[in-house]
């Protein structure tokens, strides 16, 4: 279900009144969960199996982790194995259950129905890991199981084709006859191999819970329904923001107080998001698609304009989604984190990542960059960590080399601006506007790799931009003016003109204008770009 559809409006018209009616009962959490699962399962109900599985396993793993001591304890493994002597009764049950499960799933992996065998093989691996966790009563093992499980889901659905293709190409070039099977052949019961919407978001959110619990940052959530609602909370399930349990779970403890401001703020956020998506992103996509789908047909000005347009399209599309998500959550009394903070106003690449997809960049910072050592071990290791983090970030966005290059370009960009910022001249003498434009230009350049259909297309676009002809530019002025107006607004908002923008007349005028514009100009919009991630 998409936010900008009448179906969603109808959905909300049912969900909200019932939610408010249930606010004094215990039923509001189950209702929110039902609403979230309905929202997610609207397109493909069987994707819910994946969300439910990921949620259930992480809930169980943390419960088991909670039964294990923080400090590693010595035990007699021979006695534990032969006499099943465990300090904790739950671990004993878990051990027996997982061993039995491993044997059964292994059996099915070898002798079960053909279409179930790959799934059972994977299940036996997870269960075996769990058996090891129960046997050793080791918190770290439970964490590993959670990481392996979530990444296995992610890798299979998102990257398996990419890896298979590349490895098979490599094997062929080495004249090895062995080939990896197509991932689509590994699906249980012959189900269709399709990337489930928002898989990267809910797996990351669920994973952050297990990691934070392992680190002792959050308490264990004992209510499964509450935890499931946290993972599947419908405003942010499909494209974030990727919330943390520490921020979000406490909001589900008791029904939030709803004030009039919840509605006015929620509506304000939703309107801006809707405008970004329907009036701007969808319009820009028409031009971007046309140019990027056949770059050979276009010359330098069109390619340049399309790259510029894509930079804004992806911003409007993604930030529009999160604005709407935050607005809907706000109406229900929940606060979702800020995900975009006018990123094209950034004066450095580091700052850009502090403003762009904040929930993801902080996720990578907290769970990848800092564990790798962060910036604590000297410049060289800092940059290594940076490159590793951005390599993973690139891959997170998509299974293609173009995304990897995009990520690495950003790592290089951060490195360069970080070094530049060390010089007093750059810090104090270079005007802010120049820095902003330089960062924007660099980001646009990197977007070429992000948007291009292939590496060959990306290089073609770059070479044409710099060497192509400027005969008869086919650049829609109306589109450029529209984007320029928004950019100008952002500059004004971050300057002393902010007070003028905050006056009642301007706010009322702009809101009315946006609604009327939406009524006249909008088309039925497609899905959001970030759904594919």
């Amino acid at each position: 279900m998409l936010f900008h559809t009448w179906t969603f409006l109808l959905f909300l018209a049912v969900v909200l009144p019932v939610l408010f009616a249930l606010r004094k009962t215990r039923m509001w959490i189950p209702w929110l969960l039902i609403a979230s699962y309905t929202f997610y399962g609207w397109w493909k109900p069987y994707w819910l199996i994946l969300v439910f599985y990921s949620t259930l396993l992480d809930f169980i793993l943390v419960a088991l982790m909670d039964h294990c001591p923080r400090e590693r304890q010595k035990f007699n493994w021979r006695e534990r194995l032969t006499r099943l002597r465990f300090d904790d009764g739950l671990m004993k049950i878990a051990f027996i259950a997982t061993v039995v499960g491993t044997v059964v799933s292994l059996g099915m992996a070898f002798a079960g129905p053909q279409t179930l065998r790959p799934t059972m093989a994977m299940a036996s691996l997870i269960l075996l890991l769990m058996a090891v966790g129960a046997f050793s009563c080791n918190r770290r093992t439970w964490l590993v199981v959670s990481i392996v499980n979530n990444f296995a889901i992610l890798v299979f659905f998102k990257y398996a084709s990419f890896f298979t293709e590349n490895i098979n190409t490599l094997l062929a070039s080495c004249h090895v006859a062995v080939r990896l099977p197509e991932p689509s052949t590994l699906m249980p019961f012959g189900a269709k191999y399709v990337l489930p919407v928002g898989i990267s978001f809910f797996t990351f959110q669920s994973l952050s819970y297990t990691i934070d619990f392992y680190r002792g940052l959050i308490p264990r959530e004992r209510n499964f329904l509450r935890f499931a609602t946290f993972v599947a909370f419908f405003p942010q399930l499909m494209a974030g923001p990727i919330e943390r349990a520490a921020h979000m779970l406490p909001q589900f403890f008791r029904f939030p107080k709803i004030r009039l401001q919840n509605f006015t703020d929620g509506l304000s956020l939703f309107l801006v998001g809707l405008f970004k998506k329907l009036a701007l992103a969808n319009y820009l996509s028409l031009y971007v698609e046309r140019v990027y789908d056949s770059p050979r047909n276009f010359e330098a000005p069109e390619l340049l304009a399309a790259t510029f347009a894509f930079a804004w399209q992806i911003f409007f599309d993604f930030s529009g989604y999160t604005d709407m998500a935050r607005g809907i959550a706000k109406v229900m009394g929940f606060d979702l984190m800020l995900n975009f903070n006018n990123p094209y106003m950034a004066t450095g690449l580091g700052e850009f990542w502090g403003r762009w997809h904040i929930s993801l960049s902080t996720w990578f910072r907290d769970y990848v960059y800092i564990p790798l050592g962060g910036n604590r071990r000297g410049a060289l290791l800092t940059y290594r960590n940076l490159f590793i983090t951005f390599f993973i970030s690139g891959i997170w966005h998509g299974a293609a080399w173009t995304f990897v290059i995009w990520g690495l370009l950003h790592a290089a960009g951060i490195l360069i601006t970080r070094e530049l910022e060390r010089s007093a001249f750059y810090r104090n003498r270079v005007p802010r506007l120049v820095k902003q434009l330089a960062v924007f230009t660099f980001v646009c350049f990197a977007w070429i790799f992000f948007r291009a259909g292939s590496l060959a297309d990306a290089t073609l676009i770059i070479s044409r931009i710099f060497t192509g002809a400027w005969h008869t530019p086919q650049v829609p002025v109306f589109m450029l003016l529209l984007v320029a107006a928004i950019w100008l607004y952002q500059f004004a908002f971050e300057s002393h003109c902010k007070k003028f923008l905050e006056t009642g007349v301007v706010r009322i005028g702009l809101a009315a204008l946006m609604i009327i514009y939406l009524c006249i100009f909008t088309t039925e919009g497609g899905a959001f770009i970030y759904f594919q991630f």
């Binding site: 706010r507 009322i508 909008t522």
Partner: protein, 386 residues
């Protein structure tokens, strides 16, 4: 990545623009928007020139402009008789002065009395929606309604097949029931169509796009490439506002597709006899017939004095063994009309050479049909009745 301290949860919702409106400001916005949305279509009717001179019919290119259709009906004189129907009434192969409404006016000595309110490509299931949502202006009037049995000539034409079909005026058919099995639009599309049909401002916005921007969304129009290779964007530097000439596009002065000079304007066959075997749909199974029945009942409930003209279908095009089935169908329709005390005329088929296809007459065919109608006793009685 530079800051290694975990980000604390924000105390309250952060805004990164100034668009945070208070309740009072939202009320003001609602008032402005309501005012604009309700006044604009009304004001537009006052300022947009809409030339509905002699024999006007909604041009083919803008036949999906239902807001304009409604406006057209709004402008009828009290004594005018609207003729509603599909392209047989509209005149698929003929010029505006070659239509049935033109000849009825001419031959009855009351030019302009019969108004061509036909819509190209309309069928009873869509007709029902058009009349239901866009034709309230013709309440309590005399109306001539055309029944084209072509829409029952096969399950496909009847829209009763289960295989998905794309058809004209899909936005006019009932979106949520009665069910049309071959119409497979998703739930959201059906919902948005239903909303649009009840929201005048959106109909007006649709009118803008159809009448001035070549049936395109205004934004899409700025990127229209007309399929040229290498791609060109002829509208890239045009001001969209300049497109809005405030004059509804008239019928093209010289339409190569229509009129006696057009290569399409010719008899359907050189021999005059055909062998087509239509798979007529039984009336109790036909969705189109059921829709037509509901349509006539709706018009009656609105105080309309309805005269139904059935056909005349081109029976020459059918094989001999196919004709009895057709006649049973036609007579069944007539029987239902009689039972429901609805005035109706079933003109004799025209000579074969006066048809352009299975149901559309040529200019001379319309002239002859008008003459027959005027001579018809039922027609005369209906015309003189108050």
């Amino acid at each position: 990545m530079a800051d290694e301290k975990p980000t604390p949860a924000p105390a309250e919702t952060r805004f990164v623009n100034a668009m945070r409106l208070s309740a009072r400001q939202w009320l003001a916005v609602a008032a402005i928007v309501m005012l604009v949305l309700s006044v604009t279509p009304w004001l537009w009717k006052k300022i947009e020139r809409f030339d509905t001179g002699a024999d006007y019919r909604i041009p083919y290119a803008i036949s999906k402009d239902y807001w304009l259709y409604e406006r057209r009906l709004d402008r009828l004189a009290p004594t005018d008789i609207a003729m509603i129907g599909d392209s047989v009434i509209w005149g698929e192969y003929v010029r505006p002065d070659g239509t049935l409404s033109h000849f009825l006016g001419e031959q009855s000595g009351q030019p302009g009395k019969f108004v061509n309110a036909g819509v190209n490509g309309l069928f009873p299931l869509a007709f029902e929606g058009l009349v239901g949502d866009y034709a309230s202006a013709i309440r309590n009037r005399k109306l001539i309604v055309h029944l084209n049995l072509l829409w029952m000539s096969s399950p496909k034409a009847d829209l009763s097949t289960s295989k998905e079909e794309r058809f004209n005026h899909a936005d006019l058919v009932a979106q949520f029931g009665p069910r049309i099995p071959c119409y497979k639009a998703d739930f959201n599309h059906r919902l948005s169509v239903t909303v649009e049909r009840h929201f005048t401002f959106m109909q007006w916005a649709n009118h803008l796009q159809i009448a001035y921007f070549g049936q395109k969304n205004i934004l899409a129009w700025t990127l229209d490439d007309e399929g040229a290779s290498p791609p060109e964007l002829p509208n890239a530097y045009k001001n969209p506002l300049q497109q809005i000439t405030l004059t509804v596009p008239p019928e093209p002065a010289a339409d190569p597709e229509r009129g006696p000079a057009s290569p399409r304007h010719k008899p359907w066959s050189t021999t005059g006899e055909g062998t087509t075997r239509f798979e007529w749909v039984a009336p109790d199974l036909s969705l189109q017939w059921a829709a037509f029945q509901r349509l006539v009942k709706l018009l009656q409930s609105r105080g309309n004095d309805v005269l139904v003209v059935v056909g005349p279908f081109n029976e020459h095009s059918m094989s001999a063994e196919n004709r009895p089935a057709f006649r049973r169908l036609r007579d069944g329709a007539a029987e239902w009309l009689t039972q429901n005390r609805i005035a109706h005329v079933i003109p004799e088929p025209l000579p074969s050479a006066l048809y352009a296809d299975a149901s559309h007459p040529l200019t001379e065919g319309y002239r002859m049909l008008a003459a027959r109608l005027i001579r018809d006793a039922t027609f005369q009685k209906w015309m003189t009745a108050r």
